[in-house]
Symmetry: C2
Subunit: 394 residues, 2 copies
C-alpha cells in the first residue's frame, strides 16, 4: 500500500451503480442505430494495433472505403477520431499559414471549416448562401476566379439544413484554377451517389456513425495524387503528429515502406467500421443509395399528408439521409421532440446552428433507412404534433 | 439507380469473407485484454452524443477520472482519441509558438513530446538521460534554472524501457520557476500511485487501453487551475477545434454554461471507459496499485530464476505495468516473440524506439495483472528461450 498516505479523493459512489443504456430508435441526424452484427463486432476480443489480423482488417477497410468513395486513391483510410477529426486531418495536411482558402458556407459545417482554416493561419474567404440553399456551379466558378484560392471546401450533405450539394463540375473548375477540391461527406457518404475520382475531388472525409452504421470514433478519408503533391510541397510541418499524413499513410499500408507503429488505433471501432463496410458491399452501393432515396421519398410523401413542408424547396438538392422539416408557425418544436422521446423512445432532432428553432430533422441512414422506420417516425411525429396542439390550447 | 453510369470501383471481395479476430492473451505494453464486462458494454445499443444518459455516463467518467488521478480538478475528462491525441490536447492548449518548453527524454515518449512541441512552434529544450535511467529531482531543477521554460514535460511510465519516473517534488520546482508541469501517464495510470493535486501536476493525460482495460480510443486528461490560467492568457487560438479546451470543457460539463454540441463523441468507447473506471472503483485504487506491484514482483522473481535481467537496474524506478527484460547475448529476441505467439497466442513484445532489439517487454496491466498470468507468461517465455537456443544450435 502507499504507507499511511490518505486518499484525497475517495471512490465515487456513482460508479458503484449500474450504467443505464436504454434502447432507442435514433431517427435524428446521427449517430443512427448500430445494426446487431456491428454491435456484436464491438464485443469481439481486442487485438494489438500492429497484429497481422488488425492490419488485415485495416486493409479490408481501405478496400471498402475505396468502394464507397468510388476512388482508386491509394491514400484512403480511416482517421482515429470523429468526423470533425477527419476535417482537421484534411485541413492540417493540405493548407499552410497564409494560403487563401475559399469555403462555401450555407450551414454549420461550412462555418466550422472556415473557423478551422483561420485557426490554421489561412486567409479564409467565404462564399455565403442562405441556409437551405445549395450553391450553383456558376457561383462557385465566379468566386474561385475572384479569390484564386489554394483550396476550395464544400459540404456534400449539410445535415444542419438537409441540403444535398451537387458536386459535378466543381473539380474541373478547381483544377483549371490550380486549386484543391475538398469535400465534407460526413452525412452523405453511402447514402447518395459519390464518385470521388470522376468528380475530381482531391480530399474527402466522412464519419463512421451515419450511413456506415458503426459507432462514432473513426473518420473515413481519402486524398488524390494532386492533394499528396500539395502536401509534399509544404514548407511547414503539420501541427499534429497524430494527423500527419506521412505517418498515417505508412501505418495504413498506403506507402511502400514496412508498416511502423504510429499511434494505438481504436481496434474495436475498426472491427465495427469493417463490418459496416461489409454490409454495404453485400447490399451493393447502388442498392444502398436507392434504398436511401426510396426511404426519403416515402418520408416526403408522408410529411405532405401531415401538411408539413420541407425546409429545402428544391427537391433536387434535398439530402435523402437527413431531412429538415419546417416547424409550422405557432408550434413548439421542442415539445414535439420531448414528447416523442418520452413516449416512444424515438429521436427526432431540432435544428442546429443557423437552423436551430426553425426545423425538425429526421435522419434515414444506414440500418435505419427503411420503409418501416419511415412509417413509424411519421406516426409518432403526427402524434407529437397533435399532442403539441392539444396542450397548447389548454 | 444512377442511370447507366458504371461503377469504376467494384465491390471488394475481401469484405464478403468473415472477419477473423482470434482470442489472444496480450502481455505486451498495451492494449491489454479487455475484461468480459467491458467487452459486453461495447455491444450495448448506441445513444446520441447529447442524450441525457450519455451526459450522465460522461459525468460518471469525470468522477472516476478524478479518483484515479487523485485530483479535484474540475477540468477532468476524456479526449476522443488515443493516448497520443491526449498528448496533443495538452500541448496544443498550453503552449504558444515561441514558448520555451523543456522535455525530459529517456525513451520514445519524451522524443514524441519534443517533436510535437517543435511542430507547434515552441522553442524545445531537451533534458536527455540514457534509455532506462530515470531523472533525479536535482537534474530537473538545474535544467529548469538554465532554460526557464514555460512548461516542463516528463513521462511517468516510459513503456519503451520500463522506467517509472518519481514525480514528487517536481511540481514545487516548476511552480517556483513559473513553469507548468505536464505528465504523460499513458502506461502508468491506475497501476502505480498517482497524486495529481498533491504532486502539483498541471496537466496530465493517459490512455483507455492500459490499466483501465477499455479498448483504445479515449484519452483521460486533467488540467489544474494554473494550466487553465495559462490557456486563458494565450494570444493565439488553438490550431484545432476538436481539441480546443474551451469547447471540450463545455461539452464535458466542466464550465457553468449549458452543454453544447461540440463533436460526436465515441459513445460506445465512453460506455467502456466508464465500466473500466467502475471496476477500479469497486476494487479500490490502493488495491489496484497493490495488485500491480505484487504481480510485478512475482515477475521479477520468476525472471531471476530464468537467469534473465531487467533493463532498469534501480528497482525503485521500475514500472510495474511494463517490464523491459534484457535480451541475453546471442539470443534472437524475435524468434522468441514469434514462437510464443504462434504456439500459445500470447503476446510478448520487443523493444520500441531506443530499446528496439535490446529488450522484451511484458505488460501486467488491468485485467491481466494477476499471479496466474505471471506464471503463464514465465512458462511460455522459458519455453521460447529453450526453443530459441535449441534451434540456434542446429
Amino acid at each position: 500500500m502507499v504507507g499511511n498516505k490518505s486518499m484525497a479523493v475517495s471512490s465515487p459512489k456513482e460508479l458503484l451503480l449500474p450504467m443505464i443504456v436504454p434502447q432507442k430508435l435514433l431517427m435524428g441526424p446521427g449517430p443512427s442505430n448500430v445494426p446487431p452484427r456491428i454491435l456484436a463486432a464491438g464485443a469481439l476480443p481486442i487485438l494489438g494495433h500492429m497484429h497481422p489480423e488488425t492490419l488485415k482488417i485495416m486493409d479490408d477497410i481501405k478496400k471498402g472505403l475505396q468502394y464507397v468513395f468510388q476512388t482508386k486513391n491509394e491514400l484512403t483510410f480511416a482517421v482515429s477520431g470523429s468526423g470533425h477529426c477527419g476535417m482537421e486531418a484534411a485541413m492540417m495536411n493540405l493548407i499552410e499559414p497564409g494560403d487563401v482558402i475559399l469555403v462555401a458556407s450555407n450551414g454549420i459545417w461550412g462555418e466550422r471549416i472556415a473557423d478551422l482554416g483561420k485557426r490554421l493561419g489561412a486567409n479564409v474567404k467565404v462564399l455565403q448562401n442562405p441556409t437551405g440553399v445549395a450553391f450553383s456551379l456558376k457561383q462557385i466558378e465566379q468566386s474561385i476566379h475572384v479569390y484564386k484560392p489554394a483550396l476550395f471546401a464544400i459540404t456534400h450533405g449539410e445535415s444542419s439544413s438537409g441540403v444535398l450539394q451537387p458536386l459535378q463540375g466543381i473539380g474541373n473548375v478547381c483544377h483549371r484554377n490550380d486549386c484543391l477540391f475538398l469535400v465534407d461527406s460526413v452525412a452523405s457518404l453511402g447514402g447518395v451517389p459519390m464518385f470521388v475520382d470522376e468528380w475530381g475531388i482531391d480530399a474527402i472525409y466522412s464519419g463512421s456513425q451515419k450511413v456506415l452504421g458503426a459507432p462514432p470514433g473513426t473518420a473515413p478519408i481519402s486524398f488524390s495524387q494532386r492533394a499528396i503533391s500539395k502536401f509534399k510541397s509544404k514548407k511547414i510541418r503539420v501541427p499534429s503528429f497524430y494527423l500527419d499524413l506521412n505517418h498515417l499513410a505508412n501505418y495504413w499500408g498506403c506507402d511502400a515502406g514496412p508498416r511502423r507503429y504510429h499511434h494505438t488505433c481504436p481496434v474495436t471501432n475498426l472491427y465495427q467500421l469493417r463490418e459496416g463496410l461489409a454490409m454495404v458491399a453485400e447490399e451493393g452501393l447502388e442498392g444502398c443509395w436507392e434504398r436511401h432515396r426510396a426511404a426519403a421519398r416515402s418520408l416526403y410523401a408522408g410529411l405532405e399528408k401531415l401538411g408539413l413542408k420541407l425546409f429545402v424547396e428544391d427537391e433536387a438538392t434535398r439530402l435523402p439521409t437527413v431531412s429538415a422539416i419546417l416547424v409550422p408557425p405557432g408550434t413548439d418544436w421542442k415539445k414535439v421532440v420531448v414528447y416523442v422521446m418520452q413516449k416512444y423512445r424515438i429521436e427526432i432532432s431540432g435544428g442546429l446552428g443557423p437552423s436551430a428553432g426553425k426545423v425538425w430533422r429526421i435522419g434515414l441512414m444506414g440500418y435505419n433507412a427503411n420503409q418501416d422506420n419511415v412509417k413509424r417516425v411519421l406516426r409518432v411525429l403526427e402524434d407529437g404534433l397533435n399532442h403539441s396542439r392539444t396542450t397548447s390550447r389548454l
